[in-house]
């Protein structure tokens, strides 16, 4: 099974994933069994909004407010790339 994410998708964290704000780096940790990924600031902004309600478009809208010097097309592509990677690793779910 292979799904390509689109801007209409409403990503959410997989059941095994918890987010934790790291006191040492002030970045978000994505925690899952026996592993963890320390997210950079942008990835953290994306992942913390993956609640199954926000669409990718909404998430990009939020990012545009902070990173308004970047063309929307680039932010959208990079957001989709990141989510696609996490989806393939089973860290993000998409309700179908």
């Amino acid at each position: 099974m292979f799904t390509h994410l689109t801007t209409e998708c409403r990503p959410q964290l997989a059941a095994k994933v918890r987010l934790r704000l790291d006191q040492k780096s002030h970045c978000f940790f994505m925690l899952f069994p026996e592993r963890g990924i320390l997210l950079n600031a942008v990835a953290g902004e994306i992942i913390k909004r993956c609640d199954g309600i926000n669409t990718v478009t909404t998430i990009v809208d939020h990012l545009m407010q902070t990173y308004d010097d970047q063309p929307r097309q680039i932010i959208e592509t990079e957001t989709l790339n990141l989510l696609q990677q996490f989806y393939t690793r089973g860290l993000i779910r998409i309700e179908s």
């Binding site: 292979f2 799904t3 059941a15 934790r20 040492k24 940790f29 925690l31 069994p33 026996e34 089973g90």
Partner: protein, 364 residues
């Protein structure tokens, strides 16, 4: 004091007591007894100190962690500290009600380990019938909405089951499948002659695992850990000595890995005498194999010295008698013939009946 290292995972080895007797158990061959175990308050302090040091995950393991009557309380505290908790269990002493209590205390995920899908093989490995209970427990885990990891330790007698195991994990709706070959230390080293697979077995299993990993991407995480005897270079054992993991044994001894205390002369302090912070940063045990100064020239000048850090120190010690040597599984190691001869022996002993040396169940 060198503050560059940060432990991310606490391995809380709560007890060495276990209902199973697996012939490849990762516990040391000298097991601790119930009366050696540290009390609840000490564990709670360990969790708090671990979190303050930077730990974000706790693996609750053993032995069988469910044999600690304070498990729920420990999970509650870990949860309060925002630590991600994995229960690593045989499933044997579990009831559905108990599982619900643990979940409500804040447990984040459960790993159930299997020996084989063949009753006779499973019983031969762990010396009691266990398969049915494990399947039931795995179903409960999903039924109460906890993420499930199915773990199976692979060796000569069950590697051929790999496709069947993948199907079972799919049927159970596992979130994660660990197909982990035996690493030949501790009990497994004692039984190596019977457990070590052939290269053909490993290659075939690896292909099947690779296909499953691709096919199940996004649905189930599939991990295949090869036996390091069949790798060209050593594994990055524990992510490097004293770099990412901190293990607390049932008696409070603190160690960089499961078997560090089996290295002669290794000085490991106890949480009963020191704080975790002092131990992590200042103890001679944790500092002994950090950095490059200790490395043999072969490793120090190797381009992989920051990838595998010279491999497993325990393996170097148990195979060569010197924990400071290059891990013999490295194809460049002067001791690599030890690995080659073990593999050659495998070709001759396959199919020959063998009596395992089993670990005792409750410490002895």
């Amino acid at each position: 004091m060198n503050k560059q290292y940060r432990p991310y995972t606490l391995i809380a080895e709560l007890t060495h007591r276990c209902p199973l007797h697996c012939a490849y158990c990762s516990n040391p061959t000298t097991l601790l007894k119930y009366r050696d175990e540290i009390d609840t308050d000490t564990w709670l302090r360990v969790f708090r100190e671990a979190e303050a040091l930077g730990v974000v995950q706790v693996n609750l393991t053993g032995g069988e962690p469910l044999l600690r009557s304070d498990l729920e309380r420990l999970i509650e505290e870990a949860h309060k500290l925002g630590l991600y908790t994995n229960l690593i269990t045989s499933g044997i002493p579990l009831t559905k009600q108990k599982l619900i209590h643990l979940r409500d205390a804040g447990l984040n995920s459960v790993q159930v380990s299997f020996q084989s899908l063949n009753d006779a093989v499973a019983e031969r490995i762990c010396k009691r019938p266990a398969l049915n209970q494990k399947l039931i427990v795995a179903e409960w885990v999903k039924a109460v909405d906890l993420p499930l990891t199915v773990n199976i330790v692979l060796h000569r007698e069950n590697l051929h089951e790999i496709a069947e195991i993948i199907t079972m994990a799919e049927r159970l709706n596992a979130d994660r499948l660990e197909l982990a070959n035996v690493q030949y230390l501790g009990w497994a080293l004692r039984n190596r002659e019977a457990l070590l697979p052939t290269k053909e077995q490993v290659d075939e299993a690896r292909l099947i695992a690779r296909e499953a990993k691709k096919r199940l991407a996004g649905l189930m995480e599939v991990l295949f850990v090869i036996p390091d005897y069949y790798a060209e270079f050593p594994k990055t054992c524990m992510g490097g000595w004293g770099q990412k993991f901190i293990l607390v044994a049932p008696n409070g001894l603190v160690s960089p890995c499961h078997l560090a205390q089996t290295i002669s002369g290794m000085q490991l302090p106890s949480v009963q005498n020191f704080s975790l912070e002092e131990i992590w940063f200042e103890s001679s045990g944790f500092n002994q194999f950090r950095g490059e100064a200790w490395m043999p020239e072969l490793c120090r000048t190797c381009e992989r010295h920051n990838v595998d850090f010279g491999g497993c120190r325990c393996q170097a010690f148990h195979l060569t008698g010197d924990a400071g040597k290059t891990d013999p599984v490295c194809s460049l190691s002067p001791d690599h013939h030890l690995i080659e001869s073990a593999k050659n022996q495998t070709k001759n002993t396959t199919g020959v009946p063998y009596n395992f040396e089993y670990r005792p169940g409750h410490g002895s």
